[in-house]
């Protein structure tokens, strides 16, 4: 399922050098799960503080008073300071965000400044209303870059840190003989004409072929093959010997094939 929130699920950042790059915006679901982990960590910290200071209480009435006040202070510091400290020290990550490979960044693509970190965490109470980030999640869902209110004020976005790996063509059944390779100049034209989105779409279609009903699969590959035929025309003898699906497989192999070096 392609998750679509706000008006887009990636943030395109254009640098003054004229380079544009995309950052995948974290979904409210992933952010909610990360927040849950952070909540558990905060709870564990609070329990730890309570247990540690309960030993001080046995020393007398004065120390019991000091211990209770330190517990209150500890709870306050962990609940307010946890996000601030970790996001600052870990460059936009908390333990929950690290688990889900999320990171807070400046919405212009730069690292966070301390005021940004503090503001997005201090204004969290309004996002938490009325129960567990409901208000923040609603705002996140309707805002362009999935920002909760604290993010808006701080000028931050939460991205998903993808560490992309090359697809394993062998497991997709596209690593066999490819008749396109006998026409390198047409392959080059195909690569030139194909956009990254089209290439990704073709790869997705092959990966998910088994989830499609037969008639839908035939229609989809027919449409895709026709599209790629229009981008670069291979000789008739190549085209006629291939089914639509095999044609798309060959296209994917051509597009994703890496150097043997």
């Amino acid at each position: 399922m392609h998750y679509k929130l706000g008006s887009r699920n990636s943030l395109t950042i254009s640098t003054p050098d004229g380079v544009s790059f995309r950052q995948i915006i974290a979904t409210p679901y992933a952010r909610g799960m990360a927040a849950l982990i952070d909540l558990l960590v905060i709870l564990a910290c609070n329990i730890g503080i309570s247990i540690a200071l309960s030993f001080v209480s046995v020393l007398g009435r004065f120390f019991a008073d000091v211990a209770t006040s330190l517990v209150i202070l500890g709870f306050f510091i962990t609940s307010v300071g946890y996000g601030i400290m970790l996001e600052w020290v870990m460059g936009g990550q908390t333990l929950g965000k690290k688990t889900f490979r999320l990171r807070v960044i400046d919405q212009r693509g730069m690292t966070l400044t301390l005021p940004q970190v503090i503001i997005r965490n201090l204004l969290r109470p309004i996002d938490l209303l009325p129960i567990y980030y409901l208000f923040g999640a609603l705002f996140c869902f309707f805002s362009k870059n999935c920002q909760r209110l604290g993010d808006f004020a701080a000028g931050t976005v939460v991205i998903r840190e993808a560490r992309p790996k090359a697809p394993d063509l062998a497991t997709l059944g596209v690593s066999g003989d490819n008749s396109f390779t006998r026409h390198p100049h047409i392959e080059a034209r195909l690569r030139q004409q194909t956009t990254p989105e089209e290439a990704q779409l073709a790869l997705d279609a092959i990966v998910r072929r088994d989830t499609l009903p037969p008639e839908r699969r035939l229609a989809l590959f027919h449409e895709m093959a026709n599209h790629f035929r229009s981008l670069a025309s291979f000789p008739d003898e190549v085209q006629e010997s291939l089914s639509d699906e095999q044609y798309v497989r060959n296209v994917v192999q051509t597009l994703y094939r890496k150097s043997k070096a």
Partner: protein
Amino acid sequence: MILDLDKFIAKEQPVWDELERIVEEKEEGKEKTAMPLERANRFLYLYQRASSDLVRLKTFAGEADTAFYLENLIARAYRQLHMRRKRENTFRPLSWFLVSLPCTFRRHGKAFALSTALFLFGALLGALVLGLDYDQKRNLIPEQFDHLYGDPSERVAKEEAAQFDNFDSRQTFSTYLMTHNTKVAIFTAASGFLWGILTMILLFYNGIIIGVVCFDYLQAGEGVFLTAWLLPHGSFELPAIFMGGQAGLMIGRAVIGWGSDLRMTERFRLIRNDLLTILGGAAVLLIWAGLVESFLSQYHKPDFYPWKIALGLFQLVLLFAFLGYGGKRTPSRAKERKEMLPALSSPSSQGHH
């Protein structure tokens, strides 16, 4: 035009690998000292080359995975290249408190005035309602303050007869007050996101409660007790809550965007540091107010009332003198700066040779 993608990737891969190594080192904080110039130049070169590769790849080839990989690498390198932390390490607490806080406070003085006015309006209305119908007292004071439901004179007599115990959970109480009131100030500020409406309601509602309590005690002839009880901590606590309201109204204004052509993101960027300064100032005031409320305000000995009231008044005057005049440049310093400004803005100093 990239005719051979395989060759292109094979040729550029070492560049990307080297860039990735530097980015990883920087991300992991391995470099404790500033990067040597030669290495910084190399980093910039690698970033620019990878950026150029991405542009070529996106323009001339449909290789999605490599483009995606490069986008991620460049995003990470861009973040590291535009690291803005070093500049922030010059934070000076004393200068922040003595100069930035009062200057920022005055810059948004209208928001503070509105915040205070809303609270006072609520207080007046609360007093008026209680004056017209005393039976409304229980409806106007929330249950958490049920010790205020009774007759004020009875409470005063009880409090004045009680023995003040310095060790009777005073530290716990003061810590509770500091943290609770700070949370209230933060929430009052955060609620400004709802176009400032919730901030206004919170200020108005809290004003009603205080108005009802004040009227109740004044009507019972316990004005001196009331002043000696509330003024020592209230002289800091209430302005701190109003500062929370001030921050909330600033947020509300940024959301609405009155009188500004800027986008909301930009409007927030302009007030971000000011919000932090005002909330930080409120937190400092609340720490002191918590200590005073716990260790002094609850000490109800009649012969000590004049001292408590005097302290409260002194704090109030000191606070507003500090917020109203603190951080202002001396005339000689201002003149010196004025003289420097034309020199700085003259064409010859801007490098147009």
